[in-house]
Amino acid sequence: MPRPSFISRLERPDRVVYGALIVIAGMAALLNLVVPEGSAFHMSTFTVTLLGKYACFAMLALSVDLVWGYCGILTLGHGAFFALGGYAMGMHLMRQIGERGVYGNPELPDFMVFLDWQELPWYWWGFSSFPFAMAMVLVVPGLLAFVFGWFAFRSRVNGVYLSIITQAMTYALLLAFFRNEMGFGGNNGLTDFKDLLGFSLQTDGMRVVLLVTSLLALGGAYAICRAVTRSRFGRVVVAIRDAENRSRFLGYRVEHFKVWAFVLSALIAGVAGALYVPQVGIINPGEFAPLNSIELVVWVAIGGRGTLYGAMAGALLVNFSKTYFTGALPDAWLFVLGGLFILGTLFLPRGVVGVFTKEKE
């Protein structure tokens, strides 16, 4: 596995990452909006949205790599932060529907009317405001990560035990969000979104805007993760990963570093979820499924952990394959994913990107 001290010499990945993001944004805008539909060079809106989804997944992979690759916290519940960010955005989009819902109720979303609710629950208050909803996209995942991390890391829960309780966390949320009484649309989740900031979500222009926004967010998240992992904080976190007790004897409050790395990671995951939802048009409890969170770790493992760009590459590689295989051979996908994981672990211990970077001794 490449080491941060070695990464610090590498400026090339940064150039590749930022370059690729700019190229994708420019190509999508040009090929979708300017090149006419009949042309062989036209990019379909479906592809634009697919790319937007991939950008969100890459961001999610980045957030997992930050805690797993650098801090050694094998989180198997990061899908929860993604989903919570998604729900916060979904709630705003629901409020934007207003009286255009099936029941035409200006006060309540359709599913609440359907359940015969009389008034909006207090935790939905404020979500009509875009800035408030955006704040919640950060606050809710961040707060959960803080509280969870505070208790877990302070009581020195480590290794497989920590992985298990992260799974339990996302599973508990899955069960909770399934319940109609919770007021998040139950099984069906939140959907039928109309517009965002007054712009219809269905137009090609808006799809490109959402993709470009996701790419910008991805670039920003990458820059933040780079800065953090290259700071002394980043070196402390690697030290904690490799020799936790030793770091403690040096006087570092291990749990504080872990908690803040975890919170930052959850914030990135939350933003990824918030950008994901308007592009796919739905958020439901399925996003909390424990299996989803495990898959994230597989992306990062295949791409190569502890490098950031490796995690993004892994997310892209696996999701491209997923798109392809679920179309071509739907039944085979899980086997392909398992195969990729096993082959990757056996033959590419430093992930796919490890093949392209030399190990320094």
Partner: protein
């Protein structure tokens, strides 16, 4: 200096002369009646020990004598069942957490070298540097000229200047031991607890280590646990023999080696 400063100083002294702390009398570490048991087995049994300021003390004893456990107790890793441990000017070590003890000036080198293998030699020293340990300050920390000079001088002291950019996992075993000592020095500790520094070292490396530790005593208080008798003799200082969690004998090397009880438990030395 402002007139207020001496007043604060004398007040500090007054509180230090608190009756219960009189026992220190110039010692920097004072242990009294320390008992540690693991499932009924007493690793330390009413251990008493005092280490004088600036001293270089060697602690020897057969395997399982409780040497490492004693260091665990001083550094806060193990909490004893009973006993008293005072440090410096009467600080009660048992009321402090591990990081607090480290920051108060007790540095420790573990029996097994444990450096941060995936960081470079210089980065290892940087993390050990006496500086704010907070999350935010580390996020924006930059080494000052003074700090990087200090790091470079420590690199020089431990003879790793040429290896500064190497990954710590890739240097030799002996070099790792020195890097650990360097990490201790970066913390500018008052006391260095050094557990088996020459285990696995070549003869030359051992000699070099003896020189290093000797040069550190005086400015620092150095406590060395070691099995290598030749090494201990080359340090030629006060020796404490531990056995079954108690002090069996204390004095210079010749004295303890001729003590019949020591000969009995330490046959073949």
């Amino acid at each position: 200096m402002t007139p207020a400063a001496p007043a604060i100083e004398s007040r500090a002294t007054a509180s230090d002369q608190n009756a219960s702390h009189d026992v220190l009398k110039g010692a920097i570490i004072y242990l009294e009646g320390i008992t540690v048991s693991f499932d009924g087995f007493r690793a330390l049994d009413e251990l008493d020990l005092r280490i004088e300021r600036g001293e270089l003390r060697c602690i020897i004893g057969p395997n399982g004598a409780g040497k490492s456990t004693m260091m665990d107790v001083i550094t806060g890793k193990t909490r004893p069942d009973s006993g008293l441990a005072l440090f410096d000017r009467g600080t009660d070590l048992f009321s402090m957490s591990e990081p607090e003890i480290a920051m108060a000036g007790i540095g420790r080198k573990f029996q097994k070298p444990s450096v941060f293998e995936n960081l470079s030699v210089a980065e290892n020293l940087e993390l050990a540097m006496r500086a704010n340990r907070g999350v935010w300050s580390n996020l924006f920390a930059k080494m000052s000229k003074e700090q990087s000079d200090h790091r470079d001088s420590v690199l020089e002291t431990i003879g790793l200047t040429a290896a500064r950019a190497m990954r710590a996992g890739a240097i030799s075993h002996g070099q790792k031991q020195w890097l650990e000592i360097g990490m201790l020095l970066m913390q500018e500790p008052k006391v260095l607890l050094v557990d088996e520094p020459v285990a696995g070292m070549t003869h030359q490396e051992t000699e070099r280590t003896a020189e290093l530790l000797t040069s550190l005593a005086g400015d620092h208080t150095v406590v060395v646990v070691e099995h290598d008798m030749e090494f201990v003799r080359s340090l030629a200082r006060r020796v404490t023999v531990l056995h079954e969690g108690r002090v069996l004998a204390e004095g210079n090397m010749d004295f303890v080696q001729n003590d019949p009880r020591v000969v009995e438990v330490y046959l073949g030395v």
